[in-house]
């Protein structure tokens, strides 16, 4: 066998175990730290006997059933809607010119943090929002904002809308990454030659394979949506709030005995997510059975132009909504007097920015450092894992892929709460390294998923040539492979940074409120109505990831401006 006793191979050995430890360690330890107090065991707070008291108190909470149901329903509904839009859009349009256009419009939206998108939606659809202003008083006759509960509606419709506009770009991009692995052009031609409509042909022949490849991402969407905190704080119902929002309240309750209830609530939250996933598995079967029955009857569904255009419309709308929301955020951050129903402020001022800036410096610093460090560590670990793959000749199998998705499928709140307990007992809470570690758990999967396919697709003959020229693996890595892959590497870094910037719950819980970031500060403003300040923070929150992606595009373009093969 080829001797591989070089230094790089030795270091690469540590990649997979470290990565596994960072992905699974906090999740497993955190879950344990949640489950034990839920059943009464937490010696630090005097809990030494196991029992069900915490659950009894939890179930006695007013409206707890409705809260749990809201979490379940909003989570499932947003996932069903998002996936349906993406599926029909792909079925109707994949491979066309409109598809490429919509794709380039939707892709940048992935970098917009959930909270910023949610604030943008609020500023758009609220009774005094941009939409109402644009049609008032002309169409509505409103001279003052109508007394309607559009945002924070009791049934969570605004919450569902806010989740859908963010999940659609995510699912679309995941599906696009998997699309080259199915033979789209041939499948389309075959289906058309048999007389099937575009949507029917795609659903019968291409969708089952495609769905198999994006299924874990769909699970992650469901788990996220059924347990989300920041978006629910901004858009969700309040009487009662979703389970996740109430949990955070209990976790921060000055009465320490509420921690037991919070722990029991976190277990209930885990149950809600498991139930949502269980219901999803049923829905999967129902849908597959329906599709198979239709295919078996040979339904051609040739007149699908209406549905196709509806999907195109919804897809475009989700992009326009996020974009317009961001415009509304920006407008409010520089608005002077802005009376209803004026569509634009009557004066512009930088006062909100200048008064916020002194208070922004520290959170901004924390955001940037936590983002930069967690991204850098994630990148190094990902590279080591990928280098190790070459030495062993094994790519990650199904099991390892499930592990990568583990922190994304287990609801954040269920294990972060326990992790906070653990860190407390080591005096590790509210310390910067702990914050970086907490972010890393969520940054690492995205960096890995973003980089791995491109890394593996690299032509190995370049490295064979370099070795033949007498260059060591280190030198080949530094001089050949990393420079050639600078674009995907920087893109993965931008994705990781965007994920870190957007983290709300890990920052809140592991930072214990003492390491605020732009995101936690922005979400904390949600309850007040200071639109101009919210505008400043949310705009900044959106700007940071955008800058990251801009760097990822500009740096390679400048670095290799005289190398044609390195462009695009």
């Amino acid at each position: 066998m080829t001797p591989r006793r070089d230094g790089l191979a030795l270091i690469a050995r540590f990649g997979p175990p470290l990565t596994i430890a960072i992905l699974a360690g906090p999740v497993v330890a955190g879950l344990l730290g949640t489950v034990l107090p839920a059943f009464g065991y937490l010696p630090a707070l005097g809990g030494t006997a196991f029992g069900l008291d915490a659950f009894k108190s939890l179930l006695a909470m007013p409206g707890i059933g409705r809260s749990a149901l809201l979490s379940l329903a909003t989570g499932l509904a947003s996932a069903v809607l998002s996936l349906a839009i993406v599926m029909v859009f792909l079925a109707g349009w994949a491979g066309t010119r409109s598809f490429a256009r919509v794709r380039s419009m939707i892709s940048p939206l992935l970098s917009v943090p959930h909270a910023a998108a949610a604030f943008g939606l609020t500023f758009l659809i609220a009774p005094s929002g941009l939409l109402a202003r644009l049609v008032s008083p002309g169409l509505t006759g409103w001279e003052r904002p109508p007394d309607l509960l559009i945002v924070n509606d009791p049934n969570g419709l605004a919450l569902i809308a806010g989740l859908v506009v963010k999940e659609v770009p995510f699912l679309l991009l995941i599906a696009l990454a998997a699309l080259p692995q199915i033979k789209l052009v041939e499948t389309r031609a075959l289906a058309a030659s048999l007389g099937y409509g575009r949507i029917a042909g795609f659903l019968y022949l291409a969708w089952p394979q495609l769905y198999g490849r994006i299924r874990l991402a769909v699970f992650a969407v469901i788990a996220f949506a059924a347990s989300v905190v920041d978006v629910a704080l901004i858009l969700g119902p309040t009487t009662p709030a979703t389970l996740s929002v109430r949990l955070v309240g209990w976790m921060n309750d000055p009465n320490l005995s509420m921690r037991f209830v919070a722990a029991a609530g976190a277990v209930l939250q885990l149950g809600v997510v498991v139930a949502a996933l269980g219901l999803w598995l049923v829905l999967e079967r129902v849908f597959a059975a329906l599709r198979n029955a239709m295919a078996a009857r040979g339904l051609r569904l040739r007149r699908d132009a209406g549905i196709r255009h509806a999907a195109l419309g919804l897809m475009t709308a989700s992009g326009i909504i996020v974009g317009a929301g961001l415009v509304a955020l920006g407008l409010w951050s520089v608005a002077g007097l802005w009376q209803f129903p004026d569509p634009l402020p009557s004066a512009f001022t930088l006062r909100a920015w200048t008064s916020a800036l002194p208070r922004i410096a520290a959170p901004l610093g924390t955001t940037l450092w936590a983002g930069a460090l967690s991204t850098l560590i994630a990148l190094v670990l990902t590279l080591l894992c990928l280098l190790r793959e070459r030495d062993t000749g094994r790519t990650v199998g199904k099991g390892a892929l499930a592990l990568i998705y583990l922190p994304l499928v287990v609801p954040q709140i269920a294990f972060l709460f326990g992790l906070q307990f653990l860190f407390l007992s080591f005096d590790f809470v509210a310390r910067f390294p702990a914050l970086v570690l907490a972010h890393l758990v969520f940054v690492l999967p995205y960096v890995f998923l973003s980089l791995s396919d491109t890394w593996r697709a690299f032509d190995p003959r370049y490295e064979a040539i370099a070795a033949g020229l007498g260059k060591s693996r280190w030198r080949t890595l530094i001089a050949i492979r990393l420079p050639m892959m600078v674009r995907p590497i920087l893109t993965a870094a931008a994705v990781g940074f965007a994920v870190s910037v957007a983290q709300y719950l890990p920052t809140l819980l592991i930072g214990a409120g003492r390491l605020p970031t732009i995101t936690t500060e922005a979400v904390a403003l949600a309850a007040g109505g200071a639109r101009r300040t919210i505008g400043v923070y949310a705009f900044l929150q959106m700007l940071l990831p955008a800058v990251g992606f801009a760097i990822a595009i500009l740096v390679p373009a400048l670095l290799f401006r005289q190398r044609r093969a390195m462009q695009a």
Partner: protein, 213 residues
Amino acid sequence: MNDLRLDAVSIALDGRTLLSLSARVEPGETLTVMGPSGSGKSSLLAYIGGFLAPDFHASGNVFAGDVEITALPAEARHAGLLFQDALLFPHMSVAANVAFALPASIKGRAARLERAEDALQDVDLAGYGDRDPATLSGGQKARVALARTLVSQPRMLLLDEPFSRLDAALRAQIRDLVFERAKAAKLPVILVTHDEADATAAGGTVVRIGGAS
């Protein structure tokens, strides 16, 4: 100058033996290995060069002169490789591609670039050093790739269908250039191909694999 000896080299994939071969290639001579695609002829070069994927099972020894190179890591084997594609490093200038291949014993940036320019001149590409590899023609790229390989002072040349992407006229020209330079440098050459014309032009021994099974 050293010859190249393959001593009972055998390569298997998933329990199926793809090839087993013993041979001796004198300096300046060419051994041509012919076989259909999937016959494992490229994996022979990968085994000699030291970059065989771990899912293959291979045994046997390869000697360059007295040195058993199968005991060495890939970067110590000095196997000059030419593939179907020129595979010039796209982020480097033409001269930098060649300079990258120079042995570390040549010190100094200016000296290295000068040597690279000389090597380019040897393949009729004087003055092309500053060019972006992506702007070269197919034939020019192939000549840069040859220059890059030769300046690294390889022990042997391993050619993996290096002419098959070139059009007919260019093909003969590049083929003659490669064999002429290999002879001049007294390098043992192993050529893997499925083109009879390549085998004829190479002269030397022809081994056929994978056809009968």
